[in-house]
């Protein structure tokens, strides 16, 4: 069924009731039905803490993506499923923390590259930096690959959060 040729990456926003087990339901759905999860983020978003927003990045053929949305939509605690990739322009961001350990020339080079990527040093010791970077996943990937030869020892990424452009809410 999955034919990599017409597989495409989709970013899907899901508004759910903030109840125990809701994340397990969503993840179980993906693993149980063999769908891909490239990244998944979740946090409360309503002031009353009654709703959470899940952003999931997945890949699949149009038929699989349609199934994923339908399957998400029929979970009882799910209120809204929105395919940001096809519903118009949207913004995607990811935050990453990169730990680069090293001294001398490499250390200077790491700082220089961080600057180009507008990554901030949020921790530093004589032998290491922790950089914080925000941007698209591609940008984070690029920074990681540049830092690799400069002593990158640890990466922590949030996964993608996304929102549609323009005045309309989800």
């Amino acid at each position: 069924m999955s034919n990599p040729v017409n597989e495409r990456r989709h970013t899907i926003a899901v508004l759910v009731d903030n109840e125990p087990g809701v994340l397990a339901r969503v993840i179980g759905l993906f693993s149980g039905r063999g769908y891909n999860i490239d990244s998944l983020t979740v946090a409360e978003v309503s002031a009353e803490k009654t709703q959470s927003r899940i952003t999931v990045v997945t890949r699949g053929t149009p038929m699989v993506i349609e199934q994923i949305k339908a399957q998400l939509g029929r979970l009882v605690p799910v209120h809204k499923v929105s395919d940001l990739t096809i519903e118009g322009p949207h913004v995607e961001r990811e935050l990453a923390l990169l730990k680069v350990a090293g001294t001398g020339e490499k250390r200077v080079e790491a700082l220089r590259i961080a600057d180009v990527f507008r990554a901030r040093a949020v921790d530093s010791t004589t032998a290491s930096f922790v950089f914080e970077v925000t941007g698209t996943s591609d940008k984070v990937d690029a920074l990681i690959s540049l830092m690799m030869p400069l002593g990158l020892v640890d990466v922590s990424r949030t996964g993608v959060v996304a929102i549609a452009r323009g005045p309309k809410p989800l």
């Binding site: 125990p20 397990a24 179980g28 038929m63 009882v76």
Partner: protein, 587 residues
Amino acid sequence: MANQRMTGAEIVIKALVDQGVDVIFGYPGGAVLPIYDALFQQDKVRHILVRHEQGAMHAAEGYARSTGKVGVVLVTSGPGATNCVTGLTDALMDSIPVVCLTGQVPTHLIGNDAFQEADTVGITRPCTKHNYLVKDSNDIARIIHEAFHVARSGRPGPVVVDLPKNVVVNQGTYQTPAQSRTKKYNPQVKADIARVEQAVELLAGAKRPIIYAGGGVINAGPAASQLLASFAKLTGYPVTLTLMGLGAFPASDPQFLGMLGMHGTLEANYAMHGCDVMLCLGARFDDRVTGRLDAFSPGSKKIHVDIDVSSINKNVRVDLPVVGDAAYVLEDMIKVWKSRQYRADEAALKAWWATIDGWRKRDSLRYQPSKDIIKPQYALQRLFAAIKGRDDVFISTEVGQHQMWAAQFIGFEKPNHWLTSGGLGTMGYGLPAAMGAQVANPKALCIDVAGEASILMNIQEMSTIAQYRLPVKVFILNNQYMGMVRQWQEFFFGGRYSESYMDSLPDFVKLAEAFGAVGLRATKPEDVDGLVKEMLDCPKAVIADVMVDKTENCYPMIPAGAAHNEIKLGPEGGVTSSVNDEGMVLV
């Protein structure tokens, strides 16, 4: 009345009563003793004590399918809950509304590997429509009401409510169904009228139409089946049903082509293959129905009416999805057809029926009769002859060849009278399901058409049947084999009958007697009518052991992974030839 304080256990019972529950199927244990104590002190809810929790689940399914109501189960924590998993999965696959109340260790012990603790919500999450862990006695009523709402709304399914012991012991406040009303889950029942109009237009222009209806029409209530009959009358179009849909259209109607799919009739499968417009109503393009997907009804425009968006475009791409309840949609379709004064294309339809009649003449259900041994098909024909015309008969089945023959040889005129495990194919379903149907319909005739292998999977329920004096009839087509397995081994594994012979079977007549029922046996074709009569006349439960041909195969058969037009009608030509490597991996 509202805002009464009572114990959690009393709240559970009151919530059930307010949901209109008159009977539950269950089995006690430590975690649910408070609920059993509350049950003891009231007389509104009747409890049927099963002999295994799986039996309770299937009984509740039989109860639900035969009444259209929600079936209810009550079991204890740990093993009580895990024994329900097969039944929950079965109900999920076949869209049967069941609420299953499970006991749980007290909240402060959850996660401690306490005695008889199991992560019930974790284990049942993928096999329920939804599940709940109740943590506060004040939430019990609201959650139970919501559970019933979820179980019966939209596409029905099983819901688990896990009740820790302290939560049912502590006091809480009761809430009525009205106070608990939720906006949360309200699936769309009425379809977009523009879609319906498009569908009717497409259908009116058809030259070779077919209506392919399934279990969703039965889920939509008896009115949906009547509307289906009206729509078929109005258009003159042929109708075929899935295994789960049997009864949604009268089997005796000349427009009925029989069941379709792997063991469906030639005319139904050929009509599906050759149609130009297909109306799929509450059916889900199961692999047992479609056969090889890329060869499935290649030239047709497909309309799919389903209440569950996830059923649409899952296996087969359709041209016109219509999301809504089958009854509402049929009603609208009839209105549109009439108001726009559509007429079927008479000439084309006549030619189409002539083609179909040609297929019908090949009599794809025919079999080689015998004077010496009982053919299973013959036994079912005689059973059907004896019950034909009665509208108080419920037939359940186990899983295997006997199930397919029952589907082929017993005609159903009305919905909700056929109880079978289609999606999961659970051996051991039929006896408890018949028991549940008998509890719901005490005066009716409830027959489990069984295989000798399947019946042993929940045979303990004969004891329940004895206790409540339920006159359930078990009609075993005893071929001494797991016939369906043997058939596949014959066709696809060189006749190597690995572990499919049923050695050391019990004497079913004596077994019946041991359970206080009546045992009957037939070994010759001339015994069959007498046995059937004796069984039907008997006021008690009966196990009828019908010794049938051991090596009969079930035809027609579309081998897994083959196309509809590669259907095999009998041993001539062989079945093996049409199966390729891709087909061999399919179940």
